[in-house]
């Protein structure tokens, strides 16, 4: 249906292909969070890779930052209908984390955990092959607490709630376990190009 009297701002054709359906561009940084911003000091920070309940390997901040560094420039899409183009990130690819841990993915699913108790599920194939990283820097600067610092997951091809802030671990799970928002009405996978915002979309 057409909304009476609405013409809208429209979109310039050159960027149209980069903005998923229902999204609008912003210069600001879209933020979604469920609670207050945890303030995690890098000296206390620890990142743990687990298989089920079993910890496989942990890194402290200095150890983690000694892992191979990668830069990614990506478009990001928040479920609250904001997209931001060409955001610059630096961190450690999930591929490099698994290589360092000498671990072949034992299952097809991962659950990301945050310091605030937040969880979100992402299939392993969406986190590997250079598609995702643990980001420690945004726009050339250390990631601020508001944006998920010291470190957050970055899975830019899925809605941004999948890019768990304040991350402290990744856990292989036998099944695709719904995380925090996925249990509260948000889509289990979250592909912006298929507009998978809410359960059943």
């Amino acid at each position: 249906m057409t909304t009476r009297g609405f013409t809208g701002r429209g979109q310039s054709p050159e960027i149209k292909d980069r903005v998923p359906p229902g999204q609008s561009l912003t210069e600001d940084f879209p933020v979604l969070s469920a609670g207050p911003t945890p303030r995690v000091l890098t000296e206390d920070w620890k990142f743990t890779l687990k298989v089920g309940p079993k910890p496989v390997i942990s890194w402290n901040w200095d150890e983690f930052n000694a892992l191979p560094q990668t830069k990614l420039t990506r478009d990001i899409h928040c479920v609250t209908a904001w997209s931001k183009l060409d955001t610059h990130w630096q961190g450690v690819l999930i591929d490099d984390i698994l290589a360092e841990a000498n671990l072949e993915p034992p299952t097809d699913f991962l659950l990301a955990h945050g310091y605030d108790g937040y969880t979100t599920n992402v299939p392993v194939k969406d986190l590997t092959g250079g598609r995702a990283m643990i980001a420690t820097s945004y726009d050339g600067k250390p990631l601020t607490a508001d944006h998920g610092g010291p470190a957050r997951l970055l899975v830019p091809h899925l809605y941004f709630w999948k890019s768990a802030k304040w991350i402290n671990g990744l856990q292989f799970t036998a099944r695709d376990e719904p995380g925090f928002w996925e249990l509260r009405g948000y889509h289990i996978y979250g592909d912006p190009w298929r507009e998978q915002r809410y359960t059943g979309d």
Partner: protein, 249 residues
């Protein structure tokens, strides 16, 4: 836990604007009759989608201001942002009788019912008060005496949305208390503040509740939510008991 309804898709539908009421110079309430009425919980929102003749579409989220106890009509309170695409459409173009596409209810975290108990601390900045008003209206509709405190920040006395309703509610002494933080209003009023919410304001207003809040809800712009939530944590409220809703801009 997932309930049955969480597995069903929330479908787009048309809703008819049945009323428009100006609340402040920049905020008006829009009342909608959904073609497919739906049950919701205080604190939830709807997504609204506007479509241009050339196929261009855009969508935004708006919290529901009405109480689920008051029937199928949905009240949204929309603030006009001067160069905003959707809010200016509602303020400058939309009229009673217009059909608008929306879907809801959405959100399974920033919600409260009297069954959840209290005391509850509600902290709102500007139009972030909207879902909190829904919670207070629900509480009132159920004749609940659960202690509730609203800490509400706005630029000035005249920019307080639902001001008279909230003042009347505070007057009626049913365990509801109101503390205002007016950031650009020089007029001092008893029990109210003339600065941004800080940890000191939080500590002082918390003393007005008979017991520490079981649940705290914070809603508003990104900047407001960050500042207010930091102040709450600094005042000793456990982070795990604080739920936030960020409006983005």
């Amino acid at each position: 836990m997932q309930d049955q309804s969480a597995n069903a898709r929330v479908e787009w539908q048309t809703a008819t604007i049945t009323g428009v009421v100006r609340q402040t110079a920049r905020v008006s309430s829009f009342f909608f009759a959904p073609s497919v009425p739906f049950v919701y919980t205080a604190g939830q929102h709807v997504d609204v989608r506007l479509s241009a003749p050339d196929g261009y579409q855009t969508q935004r989220s708006y919290s529901i201001a009405s109480t689920p106890d008051s029937g199928a009509t949905i009240e949204l309170a929309i603030e006009r942002l001067d160069d905003g695409e959707v809010s200016t459409f509602f303020h400058d173009v939309a009229q009673i009788g217009d059909e608008i596409e929306l879907r809801g209810p959405i959100g399974g975290h920033f919600i409260w019912t009297v069954a959840d108990g209290g005391p509850i601390l509600l902290v709102g900045g500007g139009s972030g008060v909207v879902p909190l008003v829904s919670m207070l209206r629900h509480r009132k509709a159920r004749n609940s005496t659960i202690p509730a405190l609203l800490l509400y920040s706005a630029r000035s006395w005249d920019e307080l949305i639902f001001r008279d309703e909230l003042l009347a509610l505070a007057e009626s002494e049913n365990n509801f208390d109101l503390a205002l933080a007016l950031t650009r209003d020089p007029v001092a009023r008893a029990n109210h503040y003339t600065r941004r919410i800080d940890a000191f304001i939080v500590t002082e207003t918390l003393a007005r509740l008979p017991a520490p809040p079981k649940q705290t809800f914070v809603c508003g712009s990104n900047a407001f939510v960050t500042t207010a939530a930091d102040a709450l944590v600094a005042a000793g409220i456990p982070a795990g008991s604080i739920r936030v809703e960020r409006y983005g801009v």
